[in-house]
């Protein structure tokens, strides 16, 4: 458990990775030069947050071991459905997303752990 400290090489790698986190997240606001986003891109970017979320989520629900799932008996599908339905029923209430996490896990865990879906 109490294994060795990282070597100098690993420490340097981690610091370089930190630099990449900083630079990639700041990339387009590092330069001070007067520059503004073209109009078409500005309109397009309103879809970026949503697209990014879906691009991260979809494979985590529909892909298992690099393959598109071929069965509907997958706990993730039912949990995601439950979460979606919950948000649409409760979107005006205080904490729809928190509720979606709780309801989704309440569907996911029994199906996944008890039925092995």
């Amino acid at each position: 458990m109490f294994d060795q400290f990282p070597s100098l090489e690993i420490i340097l790698t981690l610091l370089a990775l930190m630099l990449i986190s900083i630079l990639s997240r700041s990339m387009f606001f590092i330069s001070n030069k007067q520059w503004s986003v073209p109009k078409w891109l500005e309109r397009g970017l309103q879809y970026a947050p949503l697209a990014a979320l879906c691009a991260v989520i979809a494979p985590q629900i529909f892909i298992t071991q690099n393959q598109l799932i071929s069965t509907w008996q997958d706990a993730r599908i039912f949990a995601a459905l439950a979460a979606i339905i919950f948000v649409y029923l409760r979107r005006k209430s205080g904490q729809p997303v928190l509720g979606a996490i709780v309801v989704g896990m309440a569907v996911y865990l029994p199906l996944h752990l008890a039925l092995g879906w």
Binding site: A51, L53, A83
Partner: protein
Amino acid sequence: MKIGLHLRHNPHFKKGAKDMMSLAPGIFAWGLMTAVAMVNSGLGIWTSSLMTLTVFAGSAQLATTPLIMAHAPMWVVLATATCVNLRFVVFSIHLRPYMMHLSLKDRLFTGYLTGDLSYVLTVSKFPQASETLEGKNEQLAYLMGTNWINWLSWMSGSFIGIGLTAYIPIEWGLGFAGVLALVGMTCILVNNWLKLLGALVSSIAAIAAYALPLKLNIVVAIACAVMLCLLAESFKKPVIIDKTLHH
């Protein structure tokens, strides 16, 4: 840092923090399982801890852990992290007008702390960067409020995961809570047909392009969705103009 401290008293800081609180359990679970995965792949608790504290990017941590374990050359590790982080570069284009009144140091610091969900919450709350300095500070205070809750939930999840790795089997799938937080957030964002189209296109493209290495499917999917929605918008526009002409 100056920026975190002087914006803390802006009322929008609290609003951002409060909005992020409802996503916190998902972020916590996601950090927990990322940490468990890192320790399980043999990275060790010290290296995992240091990585958590410095890199602060779950998908990049998971992608580079096996490479570090295999003693891959440093440039391969860094190139991998860069590709996995490409979606953040897209976010930074979007965030530029919200940031440029800050000093470079504060911009870099804010950028470093801005994860997926704090970006999404902030630009959906404030679709346009404010014209006034006061407005910009409010938006930034909101962003920093989401950022601190994001950081705290991610770090607490991660360190509990590092400490309790032996007791948390990855097969339980607790990390799915993180996916559910994103699902919930997505549902909130889909408020018209064009956005539904964008969501579907992005999901399908991300699955279709899944075979691409280094999570490049994510940026491909974002690009597809943005372009298709722009195209669909341009088809929609003339209809709206027609309507106004008839009235």
